[in-house]
């Protein structure tokens, strides 16, 4: 409101002084002129889901210290300007995230200085306003800053699906030996000989975690082996969804081996949702029931070492696997075999030798090779002073 009064007064004064031709000496000297912002543009913020207008400008060279920029907005045709923001000098951009999609706005930007008294003694001085073209916000189809990630994603899919396709058409792919996995049959065989059971812990997360899905695939193979050998299986769970998934996995494994008679629902059981109560119960079971083989495969946290050490003290063969770098050291220290990182994901393919899965392993390897190549080229180039590769991989 104040600025309206001030501008009206200013206009009247200017008009009056011009009309009367009064000598300028009768007025107090005008305050130093505030400059107008340069290159002021208002446009839809690119790469967003709408409801935001991006204002950009350049600070004019003659900007006095302490000046700020005042951005205002109006919906044409009615020019009711409302203040949107005060922006410090040097920022040169502002995102108005209060816009409504599809509504046309105009923005104006002007320099504002609170300390320079103006001619009428009203606080604050305001420079000339620059008004933007009409602009409306909308949602966008692309996010320019994620193009690199999108290209990487597409390349990955091409390599992966291409390899899977080749495998589907009969190309045979190789997979190298993975130490821990060769021990699976041996461990289950030993359990059968000793007449003790096999314990399978599928991590403590839900099947929404990818390591759990990988673990369930391995559980399928372990369950088929226990069905073949006729040894007992025990799979205690922390996550209720993993619990239902695991039960179906084991059930279908026993079916696939033609031994549904050996399957009992209690093989896959639920304990509790608490990580440590779970680990206490499983440790208790290890000590009391002395399973001959322990599989600890999936996503683990602190419980990893408690389980692995307790299992070790009971003399069981232990095969562990996780992709979480934080828990790997403990499995490596306390278990007989450990699937490290990516080995966990390759395990399903290794155990089943299914062509399609082997094809996917091949595709992943190709992606890895491509990354290594890009990396090496990038390093040489960076050493020579061209730093494009790291920038290319920068994500937002």
């Amino acid at each position: 409101m104040r600025w309206v009064i001030r501008h009206c007064l200013l206009a009247i004064l200017v008009f009056a002084s011009a009309a009367s031709g009064a000598p300028s000496g009768t007025l107090t000297p005008p305050p130093p002129e505030l400059p107008a912002p340069d290159q002021f543009v208002a446009k839809d913020r690119p790469g967003d889901s709408g409801k935001a207008i991006l204002l950009t400008w350049k600070d004019p060279p003659s900007l006095p210290a302490g000046a700020t920029f005042e951005a205002r907005r109006a919906e044409p045709p009615a020019y009711e300007w409302t203040k949107v923001a005060d922006v410090k000098a040097g920022v040169q951009r502002y995102v108005d995230a209060t816009a409504k999609d599809g509504v046309v706005y105009r923005y104006e930007l002007r320099v504002h200085h609170a300390d320079l008294a103006d001619t009428l003694g009203l606080a604050g001085t305001i420079g000339p306003a620059v008004v933007s073209d009409p602009v409306a916000s909308h949602d966008n189809w692309i996010k320019p800053e994620r193009m690199n990630s999108l290209v990487a994603c597409v390349l990955f899919l091409v390599l992966l699906l291409g390899s899977i396709g080749m495998a589907g058409r009969g190309t045979q792919f190789f997979i190298r030996r993975i130490a821990g996995l060769n021990a699976v049959d041996e461990a289950i065989g030993r359990a059968t000989e000793l007449g003790r059971k096999v314990l399978y812990v599928p991590g403590i997360l839900s099947p929404g975690d990818i390591q759990t899905v990988a673990s369930l695939a391995i559980l399928g193979h372990v369950a088929r082996a226990t069905a073949r050998y006729g040894s007992d299986l025990d799979c205690p769970n922390r996550d209720p969804l993993t619990f239902t998934s695991a039960r179906e996995t084991v059930r279908s494994a026993y079916l696939a081996e033609g031994r549904p008679d050996l399957f009992r629902e209690e093989m896959v059981n639920y304990i509790t949702y608490d990580q440590f109560a779970y680990v206490a119960a499983v440790s208790g079971r290890m000590v009391r029931e002395r399973p001959a083989a322990n599989f600890l495969i999936g996503h683990f946290f602190a419980e990893a070492l408690i389980l692995a050490e307790t299992g070790q003290s009971t003399g069981a063969i232990q095969i562990a696997g996780t992709a979480d770098p934080a828990q790997l050291p403990f499995f490596v220290a306390a278990c007989d075999y450990t699937l490290i990182g990516e080995e966990l994901y390759a395990a399903g393919a290794y155990l089943s030798r299914e062509p399609v899965l082997l094809g996917s392993i091949r595709g992943t390897d190709l992606a890895k090779a491509a990354l290594l190549l890009l990396g090496l080229v990038g390093i040489v180039s960076a050493t020579l002073g061209h730093d494009w590769a790291a920038a290319l991989l920068k994500t937002q």
């Binding site: 695939a217 949702y273 899965l357």
Partner: protein
Amino acid sequence: MTGLHFDIGRVLLLVCFGIVPLVGIILGFFAPSLRRQLPLIVAFVAGIVPILSLYIPKAFLSAPGQGMSPRLDQYLIIVAGFALPLGVVNVIQLNTRKVGRGEKGWFFSLVLLIGLFVMGSFGVYGAFSGTGIGFLPNGAPTPFQWMTDWLFQPLQSTIFSLLAFFMASAAFRAFRARNVEATILLVAGVLVMAGRVPLFDLLAYPFPPLKPAAASLTQTMGHLTEWIMDGPNSAAQAGIIIGSALGAMAMAIRVILGIERSYLGLGKGD
């Protein structure tokens, strides 16, 4: 605004994850093969939503609160909340059977059931009575909170603290110079352990003249530890992260495409 909000995102969600499954279930009674195929198709849609949303900021996909991806986020928190009773039912089944038949260890099953029943009742009561499960307006704990503070949390922390002992026993066994790899493990482990704490200051504690030397040795070990953590350790971690992430991405695509389906109890031929 009155009336139901029908933006594109929600309508698509309703169709894909409400109507299609319902129709699929009805058809599934007549065509058993649909019982297997349709969930995989619906899963495919659910799986590509977040991926598309990463790259396509269109409002119907990605806008907070209304886009398909943020909305599905919201849904699945609820679905996960529905899952817990699946486990609770199993626990009650197993343990009542043990108690009922007087099997070995039935007493402990009884303890478990009492704990579950008491704590669970306080929780259900708190959630629905309006008193909540935390503190009463006068600052006193609800029974739920009291049991949390004096039963649940001490037990949790104590089980967790067992790790201190197991770290020691695992280190004693694993850190032996059996072969090159084990020796590297041993040396790196011992160097870092020595560099993390003022170990030499402790050793020099009874010998005051050695204290300055010990302090400088601690300093050096600290730097060495930092270098190991920052240099080789960090490099290897990056290798594990990149490798695992690629493996996980391939696995994710296999799940989304329905190639990997053992989590549903579906075998290869299904």
